[in-house]
């Protein structure tokens, strides 16, 4: 039986780590003291040794990202650490849990990172709908606000988003944080050189930052022994869809998808069959039930043509219609496309229209090919990954379940209304709620 390996969430099952005293009791903020005793470069070296790679989805080496930040004498502008807490990928809810349960570990990670990149300003851009996590972070900050030594002159500002998936893209996040329309910037320049307010900026994911204190505490080399060579350490994986025990599980990289689904997730309920698995959130290429013996690490998943993304594993059982799944995913991306670049703005809308026609049984053979061609024409031509991953994901449904799509050509959906997609990513109307309504007065 595969088991969890707690690093990020370590201690949270036994104690209420949202309280400063409790966190202190298990050695909380000791890593910060240890890091501050080191030079910034030494902290970066520790991260390089750990081979920690970004948990937001791009899997870029965190230590290398930090090392791109110019030194203060190279660029006199203020340096910024911006936290991407805009977790919006359908199927991912790990940052929600991390912020809610170990906010102090997260804050400690922010402060260590600020030291490493010589920044005095931290902005936490948190998804607007995440009221609970927002309150947990706010309360934790309230607790340490009195402690000047802990903060070390660093200001931490928590900024709530206003309900846009695209603001999880780092440059759109920066635009939004600056008060502009949330749309991605053209790169280069990368944020490390010209980010927030045209100043050197590190943008890191919540989980990445919450992993930093344990790395400093145990040493980069020790951390690197966890997991597998290409993907060191642990990962908080969100299990959802048609599973007995959905939820977040922290595991060492290298566990197989099958173990995740059956050992931790308890398998598909009610004796139904597993049909497919989306391995890294709605934007990743789907896997069939036959492909799930793949180890959950970056290289192994890349080998089967998909990605770990933001670690949202969605199990899909045999009741589900893949065309309906396509519509649900395509509608989401159409709804969330920012409208800046042409292929994504126009292409996602076209994709949805073709899929709806397929589902209604009104499409022809050539329109199935057209759908693939539209996906192909979006892919590789967009300004940011939003449209491209949407196109790749939907195309993968067609490619891997072509027979099911073909079955729709005559007489419509064989599943009819018997395919509710219950619990398999939320329908688009659930993404349209205004987070502003929840803002406390």
């Amino acid at each position: 039986m595969a088991e969890q390996r707690l690093v990020v969430l370590q201690g949270a099952d036994e104690r209420d780590l949202t309280k400063l005293a409790e966190y202190r009791a298990i050695g909380g903020y000791d890593a910060l003291a240890k890091a501050r005793a080191l030079t910034p470069q030494a902290v970066i070296d520790e991260l390089l040794a750990s081979n920690l790679r970004g948990r937001g989805g791009a899997f870029f080496a965190t230590g290398r990202k930090w090392s791109f930040i110019p030194k203060p004498d190279q660029n006199p502008n203020p340096h910024y650490l911006v936290v991407n807490a805009d977790e919006s990928e359908p199927g991912s809810f790990k940052d929600n849990e991390i912020l809610s349960r170990v906010p102090h570990r997260f804050i400690e990670g922010c402060l260590i990172t600020a030291h490493a990149v010589e920044s005095k300003h931290v902005f936490v851009y948190i998804r607007g709908e995440y009221l609970g996590p927002f309150e947990a972070v706010r309360d934790a900050l309230e607790e340490i606000r009195e402690d000047d030594q802990l903060l070390g002159g660093v200001t931490i500002v928590v900024h709530r988003g206003a309900g846009a998936y695209i603001c999880g893209e780092e440059t759109a996040l920066l635009e939004s944080l600056e008060g502009k329309r949330g749309q991605p910037r053209s790169k280069p320049p990368f944020p490390a050189i010209s980010g927030l307010y045209a100043s050197p900026t590190v943008v890191n994911n919540v989980e990445t930052l919450a992993t930093v204190p344990p790395i400093v505490a145990m040493g980069g080399a020790a951390y690197a022994k966890l997991g597998v060579e290409s993907s060191t350490g642990t990962r908080v994986v969100s299990l959802s869809g048609n599973l007995v025990r959905g939820g977040n599980y922290e595991v060492a990289h290298g566990i197989t998808l099958r173990e995740l689904i059956y050992d931790l997730g308890g398998g598909v309920p009610d004796g139904r069959e597993l049909k497919a698995v989306i391995p890294g959130g709605s934007s990743t290429v789907i896997l069939t039930a036959e492909e799930i013996d793949v180890p959950y690490d970056y290289d192994a998943l890349a080998e089967v043509g998909t990605a770990m993304g933001s670690a949202g594993v969605i199990a899909i059982d045999d009741r589900c219609c893949m065309v309906q799944l396509g519509i649900r995913v395509s509608e989401f991306y159409e709804h969330e496309s920012c409208g800046k670049c042409t292929p994504c703005r126009e292409g996602t809308r076209w994709m949805t229209a073709i899929l709806r026609k397929l589902e209604a049984g009104e499409a022809s053979d050539s329109e199935l090919d057209l759908l693939l061609d539209v996906c192909d024409r979006i892919n590789g031509k967009c300004l940011c990954p939003l449209g491209e991953t949407a196109a790749m994901a939907v195309a993968s449904y067609v490619l891997k379940f072509r027979d099911e799509f073909l079955a729709h050509l005559d007489g419509g959906c064989p599943f009819g209304s018997q395919s509710p997609l219950d619990g398999v990513v939320a329908p688009v109307n659930q993404h349209t709620q205004s987070p502003v309504a929840e803002v406390p007065a």
């Binding site: 709804h335 409208g339 670049c341 042409t342 809308r349 024409r377 590789g380």
Partner: protein, 741 residues
């Protein structure tokens, strides 16, 4: 500055060498290769890479790249759609996506025939559609202002217009609303787009989404001609193209002169052309009959009457010039009156001092100045709007802009100006000897020896300097003002509308007016000879930089042009002057412009003459700037000095264009915050303004206004005196905006 290092790269197999950092679109153009674009427009700031039309394949990068966001690097190997199948497929895909929701109503679209989307679709796009779904439909057209209509279905969301609004005009009024395929351009809070430069978005739009309400459905590109000329409405002289169809001007486009206007044009220059077709335009000479009536007479009779008036005055003639005459016309008038009749007395518009020639530089030099000092109480935008855009550019480039009411520099600023290599002084006000005081200031700061440091005077009239120089060149005698005045000649609409000229007319026995409009001639002229507009004349203007630029006749005027009949009239007084502007210019150039210049040398984009050596301006009486009212005692509110100003959107031309009515100034008085507070006046209150007469106006509090003054547009100030009392209207039922008995 050291020359930038060159790099060599290959595009479509052609080797090209450019300075490092050159944009890839420009680099390809050097090699004769097109990288097609929609959203790319370097004048709007850094590239955004939104439209994806410019996709290219770069060796070593697996994904297609947006060519507009790349710069030339050593050894780069680039394939455009011409050689790279992948890039061609990408460009084709972009166009297919753009056209998915585009209405394809080209046959009824103003842009059809001169539309980048049409052109690029023919060159790079799919020949047929695969889109079988209903297109997105939206309400259209939406009048975002009385001059601009928005068609959101045609819009391809290149964001050029919003970027112009945000990053060039800096008005922030155009925004994108909603998200994804429902993104749309809108004005902020759906308010009308009211800005001096709004019309530029029409030209920036690469499709027919933003169109001019004046030009809509008026012409098709294959039946028009674009005449390269210059705008004659302010002293900048923006380069323009006048689009004509069947002998009528249909629209005005900018014609990029990188040193003068960078391809921007203000709304007055763009939308004022219907003044040519005003209802009260005068088409024949008019003779006064009875007190206020006119009778039409023939041109032969008109010239006979003019000759009789000129002879009858016995040399006691005063000529009031507008500053909007061409230099050729002013010279011809000068020859006729000064040589033919010995009538040397003239009321000349405020001219720019030639002492400023030592600090001459192109207007574009303002854009990258480190420090710009604007002196004077007139707003730059009211006098020379484009200069305001250059100043904004300077600020965006990190320069400091300092505004001073008077030419008094503190020690720190003075030191900064002395040590800077890129400093600019701008005089935007009355008095100051047409920039003579500014020239002295620039000289004292050592600007003579620094080519990056310059000084500009913003005169009140478009060609004041040219007119003064031409009038001076016509003869070299001077004569005292005649008393009494036998004949007042009023040349041009601005002079005809000028209260000072009107006052002079009261003292004159006869008045001969040269004007375009009935409204300006009625009641005071004995003889009216019809005038023409700057769009109907050949000739030249001297702009505020000292640049001689050519006006080209865009359309044949409904009346003979001034030079023609002045030439005939002059012959009757034994003065020979050509009716052709080019020959008059050649004659004038011998004395004024160094003897060498000809029309041909001026060209379509006129060069700027070199700097002259500094010569101290002749000391002349300089009207002192009235001091601000003394700080009033605690309980005494005191009077405010009336600051009358002439708004950009005012004058006989603008008054005749209904579409510009919304741009004209409201009936309001602008007050400094402190003055308003002391009087318990809030923004928008109805206030009473009192001197010899009483007006009721709306109050507007302006943070940039110095205390002690009340700023009122000329057309609303009417006959108020130089100092006014301002108080909240005691009668709450009095509505603002009208005169109270």
């Amino acid at each position: 500055m050291s020359a930038p290092e060159n790099v060599t790269l290959t595009i479509d197999g052609r080797v090209v060498e450019v300075p490092k950092g050159t944009g890839l679109v420009e680099t390809a153009a050097v090699a004769g290769i097109e990288i097609p674009v929609f959203c790319y427009e370097p004048r709007l700031g850094p590239p955004v890479g939104a439209c994806r039309m410019c996709l290219v394949e770069v060796e070593g990068i697996p994904k297609l790249q947006a060519g507009c966001t790349l710069t030339a690097q050593e050894g780069m190997v680039v394939g455009t759609g011409a050689t790279s199948e992948k890039a061609a497929e990408g460009q084709n895909a972009t166009l297919e996506f753009i056209l998915v929701n585009h209405p394809l109503d080209c046959p009824v679209c103003d842009k059809g025939g001169e539309c980048p989307l049409q052109d690029l679709t023919f060159r790079y796009g799919p020949g047929q559609t695969r889109m079988t779904f209903p297109k997105r439909t939206l309400d259209k057209p939406i009048p975002i202002s009385p001059t601009i209509a928005l068609d959101r279905e045609r819009c391809i969301l290149c964001y050029r217009c919003t970027r112009f609004s945000e990053s060039v005009a800096e008005d922030g009024q155009l925004v994108a609303r909603n998200r994804g395929s429902m993104s749309m351009i809108a004005t902020f809070e759906d308010e009308p787009y009211r800005d001096l430069f709004s019309g530029n978005v029409i030209e920036l739009c690469p499709v027919g989404a933003l169109t001019s309400t004046q030009y809509r459905f008026e012409a098709r590109p294959w039946e028009i001609q674009n005449v390269p000329t210059i705008c004659g409405l302010c002293p900048v002289g923006c380069n323009i193209s006048a689009t004509t169809r069947e002998g009528k001007v249909k629209r005005i486009l900018s014609r990029n002169h990188p040193e003068v206007d960078q391809g921007w044009l203000c709304d007055k220059g763009r939308f004022a052309y219907p003044h040519l077709y005003a209802e009260d335009r005068i088409a024949t000479p008019l003779e006064r009959v009875r007190r206020r009536g006119f009778g039409e007479i023939s041109w032969d009779d008109g010239l006979d009457r003019a000759e009789a008036l000129l002879r009858g005055a016995g040399g006691r003639i005063v000529t009031a010039l507008s500053g909007s005459e061409t230099i050729e016309e002013a010279y011809a008038l000068g020859r006729l009156l000064r040589v033919g009749l010995g009538a040397h007395s003239a009321v000349l518009p405020e001219a720019t001092s030639s002492a400023l020639d030592a600090f001459r530089a192109p207007l574009s030099s303002i854009g990258h100045a480190e420090v710009v000092v604007v002196i004077g109480e007139e707003r730059v935008a009211d006098r020379a709007p484009i200069v305001g855009l250059w100043i904004k550019q300077a600020r965006r480039n990190g320069g400091d802009v300092v505004e001073l009411a008077e030419p008094k520099l503190d020690a720190e600023l003075e030191q900064r100006l002395r040590s800077s290599d890129r400093a600019v002084l701008i005089w935007s006000g009355r008095a100051g000897g047409g920039g003579a005081r500014l020239a002295e200031l620039a000289h004292s700061l050592g600007f003579d020896g620094k080519p990056g440091c310059s000084a500009f005077h913003l005169p009140a009239t478009p060609n004041g300097r040219g007119v003064a120089e031409a009038w001076a060149a016509a003869a070299d005698r001077d004569e005292a003002n005649p008393e009494p005045i036998g004949l007042l000649i009023v040349s041009g609409d601005e002079a005809a509308a000028d209260p000072a000229v009107r006052a002079l007319a009261e003292k004159a026995e006869h008045v001969l007016a040269i004007t375009m409009y009935h409204g300006l001639a009625v009641g005071w002229a004995d003889l009216v000879l019809p005038a023409t507009s700057y769009l109907e004349r050949d000739g030249s203007f001297v702009n505020l930089e000292g640049r001689v630029q050519r006006l080209r006749r865009s359309v044949i005027p409904p009346v003979p042009d001034e030079l023609g009949w002045i030439s005939k009239l002059a012959a009757r007084f034994g003065v020979e002057i050509s009716p052709h502007a080019s020959l008059v210019f050649a004659e004038l150039a011998e004395t004024v412009y160094g003897g060498e210049a000809s029309f041909g040398d001026v060209g379509e984009r006129a060069p700027l003459p070199a700097r002259a050596a500094y010569e101290p301006p002749e000391p002349r009486p300089v009207a002192p700037i009235p001091p601000p009212a003394a700080a009033p005692a605690e309980h005494f509110l005191g009077t405010l000095r009336l600051l009358r100003y002439r708004p950009l959107f005012s004058g006989p031309t603008v008054e005749r264009v209904p579409e510009l009515r919304f741009q004209r100034p409201a009936a309001e008085v602008e007050l400094a915050a402190a003055d308003a507070e002391r009087r318990q006046i809030r923004n928008g209150d109805s206030v009473t303004v009192r001197s010899e007469s009483i007006l009721t106006l709306r109050a507007r509090i302006d943070r940039r206004l110095p205390p002690g003054v009340a700023r009122i547009a000329e057309e609303h100030a009417r006959d108020l005196g130089t100092t006014v009392e301002v108080s909240r209207s005691s009668n709450p039922f009095t509505s603002a905006g009208g005169e109270r008995a």
